[in-house]
């Protein structure tokens, strides 16, 4: 199994509070991604990183920010959580964006905003 650890695995937070989710990899892969998974919507890309301090927006980036200060860590921050951000968040990694490249996923973080 690819070495990807997401923390926390579960979190309940109140509306308006900041929340940070962490993704840690031991594979030294260049690319890291944050997806959210919701019923009826599938997996949607939030942000991704193509190197230390290099990030780009995905399909549903509003309300989220990311940071990558080390190759192995990719943080997702909800500056002020809203109920619409209740979801399961997955971190993924890949060696490249090249079309044959496999994406490896973490086990997910279930976030509930009340």
């Amino acid at each position: 199994d690819a070495g990807i650890t997401q923390s926390p695995r579960h979190k309940v937070t109140e509306t308006g509070t900041p929340v940070t989710l962490r993704c840690h990899q031991t594979e030294n892969h260049r690319y890291m991604y944050w997806y959210r998974q919701d019923p009826g919507h599938g997996l949607r890309l939030i942000h991704y990183s193509y190197g230390v301090k290099d990030t780009d927006k995905g399909e549903v980036s509003d309300g989220y920010s990311v940071s990558r200060s080390k190759t192995e860590d990719f943080l997702l921050t909800l500056e002020s959580a809203t109920s619409s951000q209740t979801s399961v968040y997955f971190c993924a990694i890949s060696e490249s964006l090249y079309r044959y490249t496999e994406a490896f996923f973490g086990q997910g973080t279930r976030l509930t905003v009340v």
Partner: protein
Amino acid sequence: TQLLEQSPQFLSIQEGENLTVYCNSSSVFSSLQWYRQEPGEGPVLLVTVVTGGEVKKLKRLTFQFGDARKDSSLHITAAQPGDTGLYLCAGSPNSGNTPLVFGKGTRLSVIA
């Protein structure tokens, strides 16, 4: 707009039956991938198809990429309860050098 449309959304069958799930797009993809996701876990890659018309087999699973590289199918022969899960297709649109986009998935339940 969803680039990848999967059908059916839900499928419940008896053990031993055959089934096919579909992944369709109006866009051309340089390759398509199929992942399977079990409850409480992240998706895991099953196969990547890259050539139009390509057929790949993985035990009882047969994957096909359409000739025009706009669609793909997954056929399962003699389904088993262990096949239960969410099947996702994914691909890189345009030149292929962009992050994967995913379909909404087909949730399969195989009843013993």
